[in-house]
């Protein structure tokens, strides 16, 4: 300690203030956490504040579950925000001020650990532990004994159908979004009013998956042939003299119908990222290719696409993960009841409706394993880009 003091004497005064400040802050954070843990913490705290202000009636009402419940909730939200943001900030400033009092050699080795430990700890608690627990759970029956039944059931026809659907989502949903995104990005690059065109393709992305599904349900709406068709698609379809088709509920047409919704949403995302990448391709290269006599198609396929390869991989993997985890669209269309079930929807049903926690865990593990290779491709791509 003596050595440390001699070396850091210049910053000693200010670091002591920081230290005391963080201790006080930690105490406050601890109080805040106790309020947050209590189910009625907000009401109790506001009630004590009312007592201090002399508003005994208000305090009594709050304690009985009446009165200014809304303010109690607001107060709770404010405390949560302060403890969350302030606590993290305190943790880092406090810890780094402590570390700075160490010898420089030790300090340099300890400092990265200080910053990385909270993140690793949180990851372990909220990601690694549940993941491990889920894998273990997939091998357990209701009583907790070891069983392979959950995994065996995944080989039965209903589950094979579910896995097939997810594969179709992965193939069609991803290629559709990426392909259309690339096409629109390349085409919009050449037109005037480019931003306007992009806004229209990009706007659907601002809609939630459930909201988009509700919109498309109106497009797909079906009425008996004797009734007027209010669904857009069937109105057009029947105008040509065809019989109305229940797009959203009849297998197999319902699968592409649902994928169109995702493609409608994700194309905008893909387009915006591709568009930025295309603009990043330097004009000299394009000019050089033109001078060498490359046609527009050759220019696009042999120059631009290879140049933005990294971006294409990133976008493809991102959308691939979205399609693997697809839930909202299928759930909102009909809950996967017309041969259009997917892993995530079935996982929810097994967990919350069928009380088959083990089978839900097995499905979650399948999803996890399916996403892994996509993640690895993505990480490799990142690393290569970083090396470049």
């Amino acid at each position: 300690m003596a050595v440390d003091r001699a070396q850091g004497s210049g910053s000693y005064g200010s670091s002591r203030i920081v230290l005391v400040g963080s201790l006080v802050g930690l105490a406050l954070a601890a109080i805040g956490v106790t309020v947050l843990i209590d189910r009625e913490g907000g009401q109790k705290l506001l009630a004590s504040i009312y007592d201090l202000l002399g508003n005994a009636a208000g305090a009594e009402a709050l304690r009985n579950g009446q009165g200014d419940q809304f303010f109690a909730k607001l107060l709770l939200a404010a405390i949560a925000l302060l403890v969350g943001v302030g606590g993290i900030w305190l943790l880092f400033t406090g810890a780094s001020s402590l570390v700075e009092r160490l010898r420089p050699g030790v300090r340099d080795r300890v400092l990265p650990l200080v910053f990385i430990t909270p993140a690793v700890l949180l990851l372990a608690i909220y990601l690694v532990y549940p993941a491990v627990r889920t894998v273990i759970g997939s091998f357990q029956d209701e009583a907790g004994a070891f069983t392979l039944a959950n995994w065996e059931s995944l080989a039965t026809p209903p589950f094979v159908e579910i896995l097939r659907n997810n594969l179709l989502w992965l193939l069609i949903g991803t290629t559709g979004s990426v392909g259309l995104g690339l096409l629109t990005a390349a085409l919009f690059d050449r037109i005037r009013r480019e931003s306007l065109a992009k806004v229209f393709v990009f706007l659907p992305l601002a809609i939630s998956l459930v909201g988009a599904t509700v919109i498309w349900k109106f497009v797909y709406a079906w009425q008996p042939a004797s009734q007027p068709q209010y669904g857009l698609l069937n109105a057009i379809w029947t105008a040509f003299g065809f019989q109305p088709i229940p797009w959203a509920t009849q297998f197999p047409i319902n699968l592409p119908a649902e994928m169109v919704i995702l493609i409608w949403l994700q194309t905008g995302f893909a387009m915006v990222v591709f568009s930025a990448a295309i603009k990043g391709v330097s004009a000299e290269i394009i000019e050089a290719a033109r001078l060498d006599g490359a046609s527009e198609r050759q220019l696009f396929l042999k120059v631009i696409v290879p140049m933005i390869r990294g971006t294409i991989i990133t976008v493809t993997t991102t959308i691939a993960i979205v399609t693997l985890k697809i839930f909202d669209i299928v759930m909102s269309i009909s809950g996967g009841r017309n041969h259009d079930d997917v892993v995530a929807v079935r996982m929810f049903a097994e967990m919350f409706q069928f009380f088959n926690d083990g089978r839900a865990a097995a499905l979650a593990t399948v999803l996890f394993i399916a996403v892994l290779p996509v993640m690895i491709v993505n990480l490799r791509n990142f690393r290569r880009q970083a090396a470049m």
């Binding site: 579950g65 026809p157 809950g335 409706q353």
Partner: protein, 502 residues
């Protein structure tokens, strides 16, 4: 410049969308924060509810007619709670339900007098359609509500198996348990195992009924069919007159699709076979491929999928949403119905009548035999088996405290549902509920008549099967079946049977 302007306007659109989205979410906490206060007691002196004054409450003659049982009630904690010294005053009991809207109001009315008389602060969490999901999360997270309502007996038994529930027989003691068994003879067994009672039956539904427009019937000279043959004859007549006899949907609410059709199958089974067949079907002693089950499917198919009987056939049934399926009946104010009959439980009207559904408020259509829309009992098929189909929600007890016991015991008494029965209207599975409580309410009277006229009450079979069948493959399979207009009965039945958990 032009580009800038476009970007700005695009941003503005996004901002407006965000603000409107946030606006709708930020207003929602207000009503939910206000909700508990409706159920909470005001600390006013409960003189009218003093237990000594509570005369035999079957006759609601006294002016303030508190819906409270007379002491001694037969339950220990309830007697204590209703004591003049109000021992549990200020104690909190939380109860989570799926009831919103009219049902939510009904439950609030049911517990209002009890809360006032005992001073117990009852906090009702009305979750609505995601009730089961929220409940499971709370139970597994280790912070369950003190009590909860639940519709599916299989789910109750699943929680019991996990050791999450309190045994109500132990809470109320041997005398109380005997009283429960006597007052809920047909329903308590659904969630009992040996001497253990896992839930208290509460709200009941009768499903064996058909809604129809009586004035339009009279105008066309149609008679209410009493038997299956009369029903088919009437349907043929309606088709000959250029309309469609049945409104039928398998969709909704939400992702619950198919239950209306499973109800049809269960109804036919109770009307054609011994109730024991239904029991064996539930316990999988006989499979879905059994000839008796197949016969029920075939009979339903011969009716619903017959050309013209439902506008659009099986595809229309799968596609139609429960909320709107009866709208064609109201064509030209019920003068020219586009469909004439819908099999659906008593809760359907008036909440789903088109005017009320769209505009809220009260429906202009009167429910009653002399009104605009009436209810007929489902026609009989066999002379011997005239069973009716019913279902019941029940209450779980998840935390054991004296005040929780008191509330559970109160809800088990006939008076526990009195506020709801006499107000919004609901059927109680408690046989001690005097039938004159239902007298003023057409729907309840019809339902009560159907139940008491039946040779047997069969509980909703799909609710008693393993949930992965009763709420899973049975629903999926029957949608499949309807989509094919019943041409694939054998393969559908085999698929459902194969999904039965080993």
């Amino acid at each position: 410049m032009a580009r800038n302007r476009w970007t700005t306007s695009a941003l503005a659109v996004v901002v407006v969308m965000l603000v409107s989205a946030c606006g709708s979410t930020s207003t929602s906490p207000a009503p939910s924060a206000a909700a508990p206060s409706a159920a909470a007691p005001s600390a006013a002196a409960p003189s009218a509810a003093a237990p000594s004054a509570a005369a035999p409450s079957a006759a609601p003659s006294a002016a303030p007619a508190a819906n409270l049982p007379a002491v001694p009630t037969g339950y220990t904690e309830l007697d204590k709670a209703l004591g003049a010294d109000m021992p549990y005053k200020g104690k909190k009991v939380s109860i989570q339900t799926q009831w919103t809207g009219g049902e939510g109001d009904g439950f609030a009315a049911a517990i209002a007098d009890f809360a006032k008389a005992t001073g117990i602060n009852i906090q009702v969490d009305s979750i609505g359609s995601s009730h089961e999901t929220v409940l499971k999360t709370r139970i597994e997270g280790g912070s369950p509500p003190d009590m909860a309502a639940l519709a599916q007996p299989t789910a109750v038994l699943a929680y019991a198996k996990q050791g999450k529930l309190k045994d109500i027989a132990a809470l109320v003691g041997p005398a109380g348990a005997a009283k429960l068994k006597a007052e809920f003879p047909s329903t308590i067994g659904l969630t009992s195992e040996g001497d253990k009672i896992w839930s208290i039956p509460t709200k009941a539904d009768v499903k064996s009924m058909i809604w129809y427009p009586p004035k339009a019937f009279a105008a066309k000279g149609y008679k209410v069919p009493k038997t299956w043959d009369e029903l088919v004859a009437l349907a043929d007549k309606i088709v000959a007159d250029g309309s469609h006899p049945f409104c039928s949907s398998a969709g909704g609410p939400g992702t619950a699709t198919g239950w209306q059709l499973t109800d049809w199958i269960e109804e036919i089974l109770l009307k054609t076979e011994d109730p024991q067949v239904t029991q064996d079907w539930i316990s999988h002693k006989i499979g879905f491929t059994d000839p008796k089950i197949k016969a029920a499917f075939d009979r339903v198919g011969s009716l619903l999928f017959k050309e013209g009987y439902v506008d659009g056939g099986g595809q229309a049934i799968v596609n139609a949403d429960m909320k709107v399926v009866m709208d064609p009946m109201f064509n030209q104010d019920l003068a020219a119905p586009g469909c004439w009959m819908q099999k659906i439980p008593v809760w359907y009207g008036p909440d789903f009548f088109p005017d009320k559904r769209v505009n809220g408020g009260d429906s202009k259509y009167v429910i009653g035999d002399d009104g605009d829309i009436a209810i007929m009992p489902f026609p009989t098929i066999s002379d011997t088996f005239k069973g009716a189909e019913g279902s019941a929600d029940s209450f779980l007890v998840l935390n054991d405290r004296p005040e929780v016991r008191a509330l559970a015991e109160f809800l088990a008494t006939p008076e526990g549902l009195a506020g709801w029965i006499k107000g919004v209207g609901v059927l109680s599975p408690n046989v001690k509920v005097p039938s004159d409580w239902y007298a003023g309410n057409y729907k309840l009277k019809v339902a009560n008549d159907i139940a008491s006229g039946a040779t047997a009450i069969g509980f909703d079979a799909s609710d008693l099967m393993p949930p992965s069948v009763g709420g899973g493959s049975f629903w999926t399979g029957i949608s499949d079946w309807a989509n094919s207009n019943g041409t694939n009965t054998d393969s559908v039945l085999q698929a459902i049977d194969a999904s039965w958990p080993k």
